[in-house]
Symmetry: C2
Subunit: 236 residues, 2 copies
């Protein structure tokens, strides 16, 4: 990855040697790329090519590949499961910040105390892609459709490290001391009204470990950012 060369996304990197849609528009109209200029293109799944622009058309920017890189994912993969906030701007901001730090997957979970139960992932996906490009990521996080709390927990059966962030006064460990060095990890974060007692019980029965994100009372989206950044600083 060369920070000085503009980065574009092409989901069909293996088969198509051109940018299309928004990416072509951005390349031709915003950055105004010319034939002969260097670009980098990723599929957001770990593949990156260094390329040279060969043709700038109305809806397509063609390029010729010079070099191909494959990026392996980091040792510990963080999956965040965060209840959607009432105000979706806050959720978008959280997704943007977490994407900048780096994480592998986000599932909006619908909980008993959730005021919002419908999540439109299209806009979230745009926010995520923009943040991933801006922070030069080659592996983009995956954004799931929302799932009910119980369904999500049952789907997590095979995850090595499972955490649930809780505000209530039960026994819990600070997340910073629980971050695993490798394997997959999932951190669940509840809605404005927190998880219900039943949900917490169910999570503990399913092998989730109760963790704390520090002494402050944090908003849902702040807890998401805090959890992601806790994994990020542990890599250093």
């Amino acid at each position: 990855m060369d920070n000085s060369i503009p980065l574009f996304v092409n989901e069909n990197l293996e088969t198509d040697n051109f940018l299309s849609g928004d990416e072509a528009h951005h390349a031709s109209k915003v950055i105004r790329l010319c034939v002969g200029e260097r670009i980098q293109v990723t599929d957001g799944k770990g593949n990156l090519v260094q390329a040279i622009v060969t043709e700038v058309l109305r809806n397509s920017v063609n390029y010729s590949i010079i070099e191909h890189h494959k990026c392996e994912s980091k040792a510990c993969r963080l999956h965040l499961a965060v209840a959607p906030t009432k105000n979706m701007e806050r959720y978008e901001f959280m997704l943007e910040k977490c994407t900048e730090f780096g994480f592998s997957r986000l599932t909006p979970i619908i909980c008993e105390h959730s005021e919002r139960t419908i999540v439109k992932t299209e806009r979230l996906n745009r926010v995520m892609t923009a943040a991933a490009k801006q922070s030069l990521k080659i592996i983009f996080p995956v954004l799931d459709e929302s799932q009910k709390f119980r369904t999500f927990i049952e789907n997590c059966k095979h995850v090595s490290h499972k955490f649930i962030a809780v505000c209530s006064e039960i026994e819990k460990v600070p997340l910073i001391k629980a971050v695993p060095v490798d394997g997959d990890a999932v951190v669940m974060i509840g809605p404005e009204g927190d998880f219900s007692f039943t949900e917490l019980e169910l999570a503990l029965q399913h092998g989730f470990v109760a963790v704390s994100l520090g002494d402050s009372r944090l908003r849902t989206e702040t807890a998401g950012i805090a959890a992601c950044h806790t994994f990020y600083v542990k890599k250093e």
Copy 2:
């Protein structure tokens, strides 16, 4: 502090036993407090009282104090000096998140590469106060008027621990490994175009230590959140 009792702000806590302005409006019209109900009131400077509402008037809510607490500030005090972002919503969001985690002071610094050179602190102060109340803080952060980079550095002469977050490829230590256990600390974060070479040189000459906030390329406001959260997790 009792999380279940609503918290209000009264800057003149020592002399006046009533809420006024926005706080009175919030108490009487939004929460609709009645005579006899319990409230907590802070001046945001470390004082907190437990009180009982004695009268609800149009522009004032009077109370009678039951108990007085004094909160001492934490061992390490974090002063953030962050260049304002072009889009002030991002800066507001950063201030909100940092207030939730807890820190002592924010100075907007105007740098050589700053696109924004004017900062209106009135709105920022409102954002900060709302976040401080929401996260039940008794000591609120102080928001300075903006300062030029050079002025700020010269004003930092007597700070024990001084850090400058840099993106460029110079020698630097991870901030997480440099967080001091006590004393005052300041962390400077540059604008979208980063600090200039001259600014970096000047900071190093003035005893600032170059630190890194990890491998990702972070936006200015994300770097601010990351720095603040790094101090926050170190307390655990």
